[in-house]
């Protein structure tokens, strides 16, 4: 029997693993290395979203994945001229425009 890994986070399927047409649910976690996308919304609480936006992670901005670390380590991102590292867990709460 073949087991198909499906991870469910907050009831949302991860687009990289589930090939659905629910592109509105695309999150930063699934954005492949080298690709860019526009940020649609941040699903984090108030104080954290202030910090995110002070570092450039805010709706409307374009984000690019420069690389991501082995063993589930953080992602290295660029937004404009700012470079950041962000854990995948947090990247999951950044939704991207289709």
């Amino acid at each position: 029997m073949q087991i198909i890994p499906i991870s469910i986070f907050d009831g949302m399927p991860k687009t990289s693993q589930l090939n659905t047409d629910a592109t509105a649910l695309r999150t930063l976690e699934g954005l492949p290395v080298g690709e860019s996308a526009r940020i649609l919304a941040l699903n984090v609480e108030g104080d954290l979203s202030k910090r995110f936006s002070a570092l450039g992670l805010r709706p409307g901005n374009w984000v690019r994945v420069l690389r991501s670390a082995n063993l589930g380590g953080p992602m290295h991102l660029r937004i404009g001229t700012t470079e950041l590292i962000l854990r995948r867990h947090e990247a999951r709460s950044v939704s991207l425009a289709p």
Partner: protein
């Protein structure tokens, strides 16, 4: 005296500008209503003396983090005549909201666009005049690191400070700020640091990144030794000569007790400690270079996956590394961590970092009992042990102190530290180190002398002296670790500060320099010495560390835990090592 406060987001070069303005003449002080100490200095602006205060770097004026509360409390309780707001010129887009929040404060503002050197390299152009017109606040473009444009800063500050009428009520809304920056700043669409990109391809490589990082750290420690050891020997030689050539003839006619107190107590103790200053300077300089280049953020990136398995994160690892210099600033540095659980866990593991004070003890014992070719490996084993103990503690306590903080960190471009930065930093660190340590050391070595030379008539440091009695009292606990009565006394004093350990041995054996080394070699074998080093490595670093933990957590229970737990671990590890090694050898 008028007061000027320096404000900005983290990584905008605030401390560089502060140092550039004040040189090395700053002091750390307490402020009413604030739980943390702030750096301040007097500065001559035009013809008036002002007080310049360095506020913590924050991301938001309305946030709720500790640092943000410090800033808002400071601005509410202290009259501030001018806010100098630092911005990173090459990343203005994300700082607009902050600028808007700052100009809304009812305090005169001067915008300083720092790091113009980097912005120019990226092809970013700033129309300062246009900004001044549209925002109604003065603007300076400069590079605090290279000094470019610095000449406009003091006159601009003077102009605001000497303005007789209050600032014209100039209200700008967020859209105006955005419009002003949009019109006056042009950023090329493909702006990136080419050198940083190519370096990151190698240094953040998925497989080679970590090995390179460990190689770099090994190189730092090797470098400190290769350069530092000869310097240390030279200093020790000068100090010993000073005693025999100058002080002994000078004091020949003085009462014996006074001679003993000053020469065997104070001078021997202090000079033994002083001979380690070159090593410490070098360590801080090397670590400073690693930090200033921006490599530490890369270390956080590389280590985060591993650290998360121990319940920590990349920042905790960087703080652990900083702890290799001194645990106290590392503990204070954990303020950037917002999750209480993660912050406490990090504070629990930092005291295991092998700090420069403990390094003194190890260098001394290693030099005495191991060959030159063994020495670096013995020291490396202690560094690994230090990390191992930190990770073990973290695993055991991670379910009690749970991390619920987001991990997001800025990755600055690689920068070359200037010679000025390196020298200034080395000087400041040593200054603070000596300032912190000198009182402890003087009191400590004097106390050791008194305890080893009294009651009157005993042979100095013998079993009959007060210290000897203390050592004997502790013997049932420490002799299973191979730790003798003399070393026990040193351990007791080492509880105050590790800087005293070697100094106190100098007093206990009434010898210094090479003579002391020979005595130690004669009295100990390598197993006893290594067991002693393990104990010194793991048990409480110093009273300052305990005080800092108490200060930062305001929790007596946590402070007790952070003293008691390492003490138990130290005993167990030394016991296991000593008994096992004695069985096989």
């Amino acid at each position: 005296m008028k007061r000027v406060a320096l404000l900005g987001m983290p990584n905008t070069g605030k401390s560089t500008l502060f140092n550039r303005l004040t040189g090395a003449h700053s002091k750390v002080g307490n402020w009413p209503g604030l739980t943390v100490e702030l750096l301040s200095a007097k500065l001559l602006v035009g013809d008036q003396m002002v007080q310049l205060v360095d506020l913590p770097g924050i991301y938001d004026m309305h946030g709720f983090s500790d640092d943000e509360k410090v800033v808002t409390t400071f601005l509410e309780t202290q009259t501030t005549d001018l806010l100098v707001v630092l911005l990173n010129t090459s990343q203005l887009d994300r700082q607009l909201n902050f600028v808007h929040q700052v100009v809304q404060q009812n305090i005169p503002v001067l915008l300083v666009m720092n790091m113009v050197d980097e912005a120019q390299k990226l092809g970013i152009h700033v129309d300062a005049k246009g900004l001044v017109e549209q925002l109604g606040v003065p603007v300076c473009l400069l590079s605090a690191k290279y000094g470019q444009g610095m000449e406009q800063l003091l006159p601009a500050m003077r102009k605001v400070l000497s303005a007789t009428s209050p600032r014209p009520s100039f209200t700008v809304d967020a859209n105006q700020v955005e419009k002003a920056f949009g019109q006056c700043i042009s950023v090329p669409s493909q702006a990136s640091h080419a050198l940083t990109e190519s370096l990151d391809r190698i240094l953040l490589h998925p497989w080679f990144g970590l090995p390179i990082f460990f190689a770099v750290m090994l190189l730092v420690f090797q470098g400190v030794f290769a350069i530092g050891k000869p310097l240390q020997d030279a200093t020790a030689w000068v100090l010993t000569e000073g005693r025999t050539v100058l002080l002994e003839p000078l004091m020949a006619t003085w009462p014996t007790v006074l001679q003993g107190l000053l020469l065997d107590g104070l001078y021997n103790g202090l000079s033994t400690v002083a001979s380690f200053v070159p090593l410490i300077v070098l360590f801080f300089v090397f670590m400073g270079i690693v930090e200033d280049t921006g490599y530490l953020s890369r270390a956080a990136y590389l280590m985060d996956a591993l650290m998360s398995r121990f319940g920590l994160d990349g920042r905790s690892f960087v703080m652990l590394l900083m702890g290799f210099g001194c645990n106290v600033p590392a503990l204070m540095g954990t303020r950037v961590i917002r999750s209480k659980g993660l912050r406490y866990l990090t504070m629990l593991v930092i005291p295991f970092s092998l700090c420069s004070a403990r390094m003194q003890v190890f260098v001394f014992f290693i030099a005495a009992l191991f060959t030159a070719s063994q020495a670096p490996w013995v020291l490396l084993s202690l560094y690994l042990m230090s990390l191992l103990m930190a990770m073990l503690t973290s695993v055991l306590f991670k379910n009690r102190y749970v991390n619920n903080d987001a991990f997001i960190l800025e990755m600055p471009p690689y920068r070359f530290p200037t010679l000025r930065q390196i020298v200034l930093r080395g000087w400041q660190e040593v200054h603070h180190y000596l300032h912190r340590a000198s009182r402890f050391i003087v009191i400590g070595v004097l106390l050791v002398w008194v305890l080893t030379n009294f009651p009157v008539g005993v042979h100095a440091g013998s079993i009959d002296s007060w210290a000897g009695q203390m050592g004997q009292f502790m013997a049932p606990v420490l002799s299973p670790l191979g730790i003798s009565a003399e070393l026990t006394i040193a351990l007791i004093f080492g509880f105050v500060a590790k800087e005293i350990v070697i100094g106190s041995l100098a007093v206990i054996y009434a010898q210094e320099g090479q003579m002391l080394v020979d005595t130690i070699t004669h009295h100990l074998n390598w197993i006893q010495a290594y067991s002693f080093m393990l104990f010194v490595l793991i048990y409480t670093p110093c009273v300052s560390t305990i005080a800092t933990i108490r200060n930062e957590t305001k929790s007596l229970w946590f402070t007790t835990l952070s003293v008691g737990w390492p003490l138990c671990v130290a005993w167990c590890v030394s016991f296991i090592f000593y008994e096992t090694a004695m069985y096989f050898v």
